[in-house]
Every structure is written in structure tokens, then in C-alpha cells.
């Protein structure tokens, strides 16, 4: 994961609105890079995890964003500007990730929503409630397999055992259930 995606990310010379970022040190600027890192790493990871749904890719993307931001990002800007910069870098890095990996854009980092997320990450229950809403509209067995696999984090084998079906059947059931969940999502939007 050595690729650097800096192409569309704003450079250190100017902020999102073209203002110079380094003339005056912002009042709430980070004291140093580590402080900036500590304040943002967990939130950035969570944001990217919500876009790729797995640990390894979320780790790679978080790394990529910080490495890309490391050179151009200035420390004398406000925290809001740092968040805006990280959000924009995350947007670019994620778009490039999907292009490379699947040739299709599956999820997008929305800049405003991402800045908001980095400033005030949503509470624990937010995603869970939305997921429950989707699952509630599925037939019982489809709902159950997705609950086992996604919410209870059971392996396919354990899920199959819990439902009294074969692993092969569990796999088919899971695939169909995901397609139904996708349909529910589409209907809702």
C-alpha cells in the first residue's frame, strides 16, 4: 500500500477556500503532529471502516490518508481546517481505492458529512438502529443469518450450526439476504 494519492487533495499553500493556511497560527492549532494524529486517528479509521466494512482495508486507507496528508498538511492551521483537509484526502483516497479494487465506486466520503464525523463522531447506536430498520423488513431466516453474521459476528460455520443448516445453504441464504437488504436500502432511498 505504498501508493500515494495526493492528486486532488488540497496542498498546504491554500485552504479549502483558497485562503493561505500558514500566515497566522490558528488559536486552536495542534501543538505538533502527534497531537493531530491522536485527535483524529480513531475517528478517521471509524469513518473509513464505515465505508469499506473490514479491518484490513480500513487500516490501509487510514495509513494512506495520513501518509498523503503528512507532507502538505500544515500544523499552524485550525483544527477545523485539518479536519477538512483529512476529509478531502479521505475522499480522494477512497475513490482511488474503489477504482483500483473493483473498478466501481461503492461508497463515497461526503466532505461535509466527513468533517462532521471527524468533529463529532456519531454515537454507538446510530448505525445499529439503521441496520435494525433494514433487517426488520426481511423475512425471518434472512434476518437471522444477517444478524448472526454481521451483528453477532459469528462465522459462517457457527451461523449454519445455529440455524440447523449446512454451510453451503448458509452461504446461499446469506447472499440472498444481502440482496434483499440491498433492495430494502434502495426502496428507502
Amino acid at each position: 500500500m505504498a501508493e500515494r494519492e495526493g492528486g486532488q487533495a488540497p496542498k498546504g499553500g491554500a485552504g479549502p477556500e483558497g485562503r493561505p493556511l500558514h500566515v497566522v497560527r490558528a488559536g486552536d492549532a495542534y501543538g505538533d503532529w502527534e497531537e493531530l494524529y491522536a485527535d483524529n486517528v480513531v475517528r478517521l479509521y471509524r469513518l473509513l471502516y464505515s465505508k469499506v466494512g473490514n479491518r484490513a482495508d480500513a487500516e490501509d486507507l487510514t495509513t494512506e490518508v495520513f501518509l498523503a496528508a503528512f507532507g502538505p498538511l500544515r500544523l499552524d492551521v485550525s483544527r477545523g481546517e485539518v479536519r477538512a483537509y483529512l476529509a478531502k484526502t479521505a475522499h480522494t483516497v477512497l475513490a482511488s481505492f474503489w477504482r483500483r479494487r473493483l473498478g466501481r465506486e461503492i461508497t463515497v466520503v461526503d466532505l461535509d458529512a466527513a468533517e462532521e464525523f471527524l468533529e463529532r463522531p456519531p454515537a454507538d447506536g446510530h448505525n445499529a438502529r439503521r441496520a435494525q430498520g433494514i433487517l426488520a423488513r426481511l423475512p425471518a431466516r434472512s434476518r437471522r443469518i444477517l444478524e448472526l453474521r454481521f451483528l453477532e459476528r459469528q462465522s459462517l460455520r457457527d451461523s449454519a450450526e445455529a440455524m440447523g443448516i449446512t454451510v453451503g445453504n448458509a452461504k446461499v441464504l446469506q447472499h440472498r439476504a444481502l440482496r434483499m437488504a440491498a433492495q430494502v436500502r434502495e426502496d428507502e432511498s
Binding site: W33, E34, E35, A38, G53, R101, Q132, L146, F150
Partner: protein, 232 residues
């Protein structure tokens, strides 16, 4: 569906169901929709989206090395503490802060249990007794939880050193959960996690909670024992 047993590329949505990296390759519209649903569901599991401690530490080190190669800003001790989540609050706590510092700056195998437990507000019972909480071979290189009538905790052995910590979060006392995959102790109440040695890894509270209380621990033959209050 391909016939069972026939090797084919795993669907990206199946990979996400396993929390595995998304395999490269083309996808059709149906799979795109299924993958989006899978990603959304995966992110819905409470605390599934918290990063592993070793990842956060590793990337911090990597950036620190880059910084050493030419970035002007210096890596300060204060920042070092902040990264671990043990910020000003813990440092201001005086002695406790000093112990956090030492624990952070030394690898776990050097973080002396005796020093740590004495200064860190350890549970140091007067007239207590040593209680077996695990077998030596159970804790070798890993962390296990234990429960006694008085204390819930975790004990870990790393490179020959034993460390035992209280299993109650230092924030509000919620019982911590052992997250073996990420090698850390997660608080189910708030987004807070500790290392097996009790060091605060991250939090999103207004004030950093102190490290976990240490318990005195020793090896006695093939048993791991913790010093606990005498039971009535």
C-alpha cells in the same frame, strides 16, 4: 451460485461478512448493491469500527519516523502521552502520570509490576492473601480474564513478566471485555480501550480516564496468583 467445491473468487460482500479485505476484480450491479448493504451492516456492530491498538501505535511510529527524517515539528513527551489517550488528565494526577509515562516509554516486559502497582493506585490489600487465578501455561503470551468473589481482572504474561489489572474501567467501572483479536480491553460503555497492561489506548471522553488499577501478581509453581483481600 457456482457449484459447491468449485473454486471461484469470493464475492466482495462475502469477504465483508467475514471482516476480510475486499478481493479485487470486476463486480456486477447486483453485487455492488449487496456489497453496499454488507458494508452498512458490518459497521452497525457496536465497537466493530474501533481500530486495533497495534495499528494505532504502529502508524504513529511510522509517522514519527517520517517526522524524524525532515519534518520540523518535534515529537514531544506530552504528545506521546496524548497519543496513547493518557493526556493532561493523567499527567496532572502526579505520580500516576509518571507511571503512565514509564509504562508507555518501556516495552511491556520492562514495565515493572512492582513499581507500577505501587504508584498507580493499585489495589494493595492489607492483610490480603494470594489467590490462584490461572495456570502459568494458560497465560503464556496471552491475556486471560479471571473472576474471584471480590475482583474481576485480567492477567497477562509477556516475555516472562506477569501483569494483572482490574477488569473495571477506570472511567465509570463498567466491566471491560477482552478483545483478543485487537489485543486490548474494550469498555462496552464508552469508546475507551486499555492495553492488557492497563495503559489507556484511546478514549473519546472529555477527560482521559486514568490507567487501570494494577494488582500484585506472582508465579507460584504452575499457578498465577493475585494478591486479594482476605475473604471472610
Amino acid at each position: 451460485m457456482s457449484p459447491l467445491g468449485h473454486r471461484r473468487r469470493r464475492r466482495p460482500s462475502e469477504a465483508v461478512a467475514d471482516n476480510a479485505p475486499i478481493p479485487a476484480g470486476p463486480v456486477d450491479d447486483e453485487e455492488v448493491a449487496a456489497l453496499r448493504a454488507a458494508i452498512e451492516l458490518r459497521a452497525a456492530q457496536p465497537a466493530a469500527d474501533l481500530p486495533a491498538a497495534e495499528f494505532v501505535d504502529g502508524l504513529r511510529r511510522r509517522l514519527g519516523e517520517l517526522e524524524g527524517e525532515g519534518r520540523p515539528a518535534r515529537v514531544g513527551r506530552r504528545a506521546f502521552l496524548t497519543v496513547a489517550g493518557a493526556g493532561a488528565g493523567a499527567v496532572a494526577a502526579g505520580v500516576a502520570g509518571a507511571v503512565v509515562d514509564r509504562t508507555l516509554l518501556q516495552p511491556p516486559s520492562h514495565a515493572s509490576q512492582a513499581q507500577g502497582s505501587a504508584a498507580q493506585g493499585a489495589l494493595d490489600p492489607i492483610g490480603g492473601g494470594w489467590v490462584r487465578v490461572a495456570g502459568v501455561d494458560e497465560v503464556t503470551g496471552r491475556t486471560v480474564s479471571f473472576t474471584t468473589p471480590g475482583v474481576v481482572g485480567f492477567v497477562t504474561e509477556r516475555a516472562g513478566d506477569l501483569v494483572a489489572v482490574s477488569g473495571a474501567c477506570s472511567h465509570q467501572g463498567c466491566l471491560l471485555k477482552l478483545n483478543e483479536a485487537a489485543e486490548r480491553l474494550d469498555c462496552p460503555c464508552h469508546r475507551t480501550a486499555f492495553s492488557a497492561e492497563g495503559r489507556l489506548l484511546f478514549h473519546q471522553l472529555d477527560t482521559a480516564p486514568p490507567p487501570l488499577a494494577r494488582l500484585q501478581v506472582r508465579r507460584n509453581g504452575d499457578a498465577v496468583e493475585v494478591l486479594l483481600p482476605q475473604q471472610a
